[in-house]
Symmetry: C2
C-alpha cells in the first residue's frame, strides 16, 4: 500500500473508503490504538492525526485536544451500559401490565452486556481508567457516568432476594465488589484474549450473581429469564 | 522544616532519620508516590532521587534506572502473596500428622492477605499493572511471578469441593474470575479509600469463595477455619 494516503499535510474531505468510519470515529480508533499500545503520555495529537490519516488541523475540528479524545473514549466504555441499566431499572413491570423480569435476571443481563462492551473493542480501553490524568476536573463527566452506572448496579442488587435485607453499608460493599468484578475483566480478558467474549461474559455474569449471594441452583433459571430480555430502547 | 535536607546535589550517607527507611526503601517510596500521582511516563529518575532526598548518582547505586524501580515495585505487589500461597499449598497435612485446613479456608486466607497487600500501601501500585510499558521483556519476571500466583489460586480452587469436578477450561475460567476479583480491588478500593482495609479484605475473600461456588451457609465455617491459620514461614 502506498503511504501517500497517510501523509501528514494532505487534507482529507471524506472518510477513508476502506474503513467506512467517519472522521471522528477514525480519530477515536487511532487514539484508542495509540493510547493503549504506546501509552497516553507518550502519544501526541499529531501521532493520532497521522494514524487516522488526516492533518492535525483537521483533527482539531473534531477534538479540542488529547484530553478530549481520552474523555470521549472513556465515556464510550460506560455510557452504553448506563443507558441499558436505566432501561432495565424502568422495566420493573409498573404500568406494563406484565410481570417484570426478576431483578436477578436483569442484573445478569446488565453484567453480561457490560462485560461484552468492556472486552468487545480491539483495544483494552479499561486500562485507561487508571491513568493519573483522569483524576482531573476535565474527566469529571466520565466519573459521574461511571458513578451512576455503579448506582444502577446497586439498585438492581438491592432488588434481589439475596441482597434485599442487607444494611446500607453492606449493600454498598456488595455493590463495589460486583462492580469491581465486572471492571476486573479489563485485567482478566487481556490474560486470555483468545477466549470467546460471549463465554467469558456469561461466566462473569454468573460470578456476579454468586457474589450477590444467589444460590448456585438458581443460576440456570436466572440465565433463562435473562434470555427473554431484550435490549431496552435507549 | 528546612528544605536543605532534600537539596539535589547533597550526598547522603545514611537514611533520613525521620523515616527510618533505608536508601533503597526511600527510593521505592518516592517512585511509588510519583509513578501513581504524576504517572510513570511523566516521572524522571531525577525527580525520584530528589523526592527521596538524594543525588541521582546515588540512586544509580541502587537502581539501574526507572524501569528497575518499576520492576521492583510491581514485584513487591505479587511476591509476598506467592510466598504465602506456596506455604498454603504445602500445608495440605501430608506428613504433618494433623488434619490440614480445608482448601476453602486456605483460599479465603490467601484472598484476604492478597487484598490487604494490594490495598495496604499508601499508593495504588496496582494501577501500574496496566501500563503499556510492562508488556516488554524487562518486566517478564513480574509477569512470571503473577502467573505463578494465579496458578496457586487455581490449585487451591481445584481442591475445593465446589470446583473439584470442573473440567480444565471451566476451572481456568473460574480461576481467572477469582484472580480478577482479587485484583479488582485495585479499582474498587480507590473508590472508597476510607473503608477499613480489614473489612474490605474479608468481604472480598467472602466474595471470592462465592465465585468459587461455596454455598452461602458454609462461609461462616470457612472464615472460622481460616482464623486458625497463621502465615506460613516464607
Amino acid at each position: 500500500m502506498s503511504t501517500a494516503g497517510r501523509r501528514v499535510g494532505r487534507p482529507r474531505a471524506s472518510p477513508r473508503p476502506e474503513s467506512g468510519l467517519s472522521a471522528r470515529e477514525e480519530l477515536l480508533a487511532a487514539a484508542s490504538e495509540l493510547f493503549t499500545s504506546r501509552g497516553y503520555a507518550a502519544t501526541s495529537t499529531r501521532a493520532v492525526a497521522e494514524r487516522a490519516g488526516m492533518r492535525q488541523a483537521t483533527m482539531y475540528h473534531y477534538f479540542a485536544g488529547k484530553e478530549d479524545l481520552l474523555a470521549a473514549l472513556l465515556e464510550g466504555t460506560v455510557t452504553p451500559s448506563l443507558t441499558l441499566a436505566r432501561g432495565l431499572l424502568e422495566d420493573d413491570g409498573a404500568g406494563a401490565g406484565e410481570r417484570p423480569a426478576p431483578a436477578e435476571a436483569r442484573l445478569w443481563y446488565l453484567c453480561r452486556s457490560d462485560v461484552e462492551l468492556l472486552c468487545g473493542g480491539p483495544h483494552n480501553l479499561g486500562g485507561l481508567y487508571l491513568l493519573p490524568e483522569i483524576r482531573t476536573e476535565r474527566f469529571a463527566d466520565f466519573g459521574r457516568v461511571r458513578g451512576e452506572l455503579k448506582c444502577a448496579y446497586g439498585k438492581l442488587l438491592a432488588a434481589t432476594a439475596s441482597c434485599g435485607s442487607l444494611g446500607t453499608g453492606e449493600l454498598r460493599l456488595r455493590t463495589d465488589l460486583v462492580f469491581g468484578l465486572i471492571e476486573s475483566v479489563i485485567l482478566v480478558h487481556r490474560s486470555a484474549p483468545d477466549r470467546s467474549v460471549q463465554v467469558f461474559a456469561s461466566a462473569t455474569a454468573d460470578a456476579a450473581l454468586r457474589v450477590a449471594g444467589v444460590p448456585e441452583e438458581d443460576l440456570a433459571a436466572v440465565r433463562e429469564a435473562a434470555g427473554t430480555l431484550s435490549r431496552p430502547a435507549g
